[in-house]
């Protein structure tokens, strides 16, 4: 073996190097200068701000959190009225942001995966249509798409009396989208419980099956049995509970729908715009991920005697996910960040509520600071989680 090469021998003549040509001293000087400039600019802005705040009589600090907000919010996941505090109003905003991002991300991943696969389809027509969709959606600003869908709801959909009824139980009108939901019944709670128990059972089963396979080499059909457990347990609970079937169908009462669940036009337009836009990007990511796997991998797996399901589960997916997940994470974050455009169509997301707060209290610095902190928190926590997951699926090399 070659002898380990030492780093270039320390120059021991540092005494002879003049002060200006010593790299370490130079580095310190540069950094002190840069930090000094940044600090001075910051101090200048800070002192200006303080003077301005004092002159304009603007309060500082987060005291407004406990004051009465005195503005209404169109939709809210928790009870809220104008008499509540700013703190609660902002919480409503955060919950609305989480709601639209969460539903949006799930729908986007599903639609994007379909489109990505369709783009690679051997069917010429399907592949071309998916390609056109992806190109068109990527090239139109998401804000324009949001206002477009909002306009579709507002301008072209009829009033509730003549609501469109594309599928039974779903109504589209200029007051939003109303659709039927199952009538609340205690059995649904037990079904959820059964699902949780089922998940636990599957987890235990997988561990047991893996151990047994490592010991004896016998393969247990884990996937089939797990699916069966997850389906049968809640279904059995439902049957035992008397199989309630009653649906809460929206009905026209006066000028609007009652019953069922209604998505306001703002929420529906926001969700539709974000999902359709982001799905185009996700589709490209999925396509790239699938194309990244060489044919040899599939052929090798098959010639080892793996069944098609196993090829997909053990060979294709782990490799494709490794390529897909990092860019997918940034698309999810993009969707969350783009949900701030809700303000343009009047959906009360966090930014919109914070903006009202800024306008009412005049405390711009706290308001903008809050917006930044909340979105930084979303970004950092999502990317933290995704990095953890990515490490789990990452290729372990040497």
């Amino acid at each position: 073996m070659a002898q380990e090469v030492k780093d270039s021998p320390e120059i021991t003549t540092s005494a002879k190097i003049s002060f200006w040509y010593d790299p370490t001293k130079r580095a310190v000087i540069y950094q002190v200068v840069v930090l000094g400039i940044v600090g001075m600019v910051a101090y200048y802005l800070f002192s200006n701000t303080l003077a301005n705040l004092e002159r304009q009589n603007i309060a500082t600090g987060f005291g407004f959190f406990t004051k009465e907000a005195s503005f209404e919010i169109g939709e809210s996941a928790i009870p809220y009225s104008a008499a509540d505090t700013y703190g609660r109003a902002l919480l409503v905003g955060v919950l609305n942001t989480i709601k639209v991002s969460f539903i949006g991300i799930i729908l986007t991943v599903i639609l994007g995966t379909f489109l990505g696969i369709a783009r690679l389809s051997r069917n010429w027509l399907v592949a071309k249509l998916a390609g056109i969709y992806i190109e068109v959606m990527q090239d139109i600003p998401v804000l324009l798409q949001l206002v477009f869908w909002y306009a579709v709801f507002y301008d072209t959909f009829p009033s509730p009396r003549q609501a469109l009824n594309p599928i039974s139980g779903v109504f589209l009108c200029n007051r939003g989208m109303a659709f039927a939901v199952p009538e609340p019944h205690p059995v649904y709670g037990y079904m959820a419980l059964a699902l949780v128990i089922g998940c636990l059972a599957v987890w235990v089963l997988r561990r047991w099956a893996k151990k047994r396979q490592e010991k004896t080499g016998q393969i247990f059909p884990v996937v089939l049995i797990s699916l069966a457990i997850l389906l049968v347990l809640p279904l059995a609970t439902w049957l035992l509970g008397g199989a309630p079937l009653k649906m809460n169908v929206p009905k026209l009462v006066g000028f609007n729908f009652e019953g069922g669940t209604t998505f306001s036009p703002e929420f529906a337009a926001l969700l539709l715009g974000l999902v359709l836009y982001t799905a185009a990007f996700v589709a490209e990511i999925v396509r790239a991920g699938i194309q990244a796997i060489s044919r040899g991998q599939v052929e090798a797996a098959m010639s080892m005697g793996l069944k098609p399901g196993q090829v997909l589960r053990l060979v294709i997916l782990p490799q494709a996910l490794r390529v897909i997940i990092p860019p997918l994470t940034s698309q999810m974050l993009n969707l969350t960040k783009n949900s701030t455009l809700a303000i343009a169509i009047g959906f009360p997301d966090f930014v919109s509520v914070a903006n009202t707060t800024i306008n009412q209290t005049g405390q711009a610095i706290e308001g903008v600071g809050m917006i930044m902190v909340v979105y930084l928190f979303f970004s950092l926590s999502t990317s933290g989680f995704m990095n953890w997951y990515n490490k789990r699926v990452a290729l372990v090399e040497r």
Partner: protein, 361 residues
Amino acid sequence: MQEAHETTVLKPPVTRVGVVGWARANLFSSVFNSFLTIVTIYFLWKIVPGLIRWALIDSSWTTTGAECQAAGGACWSIVTKNLRFIIFGFFPYDWQWRPLLAMIILFTLLIVSRNRRYWKKWLGYLWLIGLFVMGLLLKGGLFGLPSVESTKWSGLPLTLLLSVFGLTAAYPLGVLLALGRQSRLPAIKSLSVVYIETIRGVPLISLLFMSSVMFPLFLPEGITINNILRAQVAIILFTAAYIAEVVRGGLQAISRGQYEAAESLGLNYYQKMRLIILPQALKIVIPPSVGILISAFKDTSLVVIIGLFDLLKTTQATLSDPRWMGFSVEAYIFIALIYFTGCFSMSSYSRRLERELYRGT
């Protein structure tokens, strides 16, 4: 016994070539594929004729809003009748040739820059002159052109101004940030990392809010800067962080040997970066930079939210006119078409460039 064998050339079966063969291979290769094709065609049959009828046959092109209502189809008149307002907004009517000329200069420059043979120094100077002339045409106040208040700048010229000047100004800042992030000096490195990650973690809207409500507080008493410049600063600060990440990718793609060779030639840091590393790194990142330009072009539409009259806002202003109410879908389709043309030509150019550059020609 010499008998000439007559060879008959058999044509391939008709079901394997031509239209039928193509359809068999691409549309009906399996049961599932055939099913998919039929379902798709059924949906197209349901949707496309109605759409064509609405957009072309029943549509009105140069009528008034009331006549549009009667015709029932698409009302493109909202675009044709209000075209000058949608494109130029509040720019004084008699002087609208100035932004038009500025846009023509911009498009000419863009078309010239597409050709890689012209990527020489003179093109850079040409761009500088071009940007100056464009600014002059908008602002006026020199060579006998009357000055136009920046509050009157609106419509498509404003959208282009924000994205082109935004990218031009953000690029040097982004390169500096990328170099800072790669730096060995801990203070500079951490400053750059914090800046880049913070900006990339927050939505553009929060920066725009910052520019519209916080900048006035930052400045000493009596000094105000106008709305457009403030939004422009926010866009520059935002874009710079994304450029920094793209450029960092380029810096990392240069092999260590290049850095070491430059150092062993005795070049100092600035010479090393300016003469060896950046020329190579920046060439690699041209295609992704076009991607950033596309994003910047699309993102400028967000200035609507802080009340600037860009292309989207002038359209919405037209729509709030009672004579044209209810035709928002047509108007939005028109500006979507403008955005699509711009973004599509840029993205297809970037793909072509990528192929050429990576082929190594």
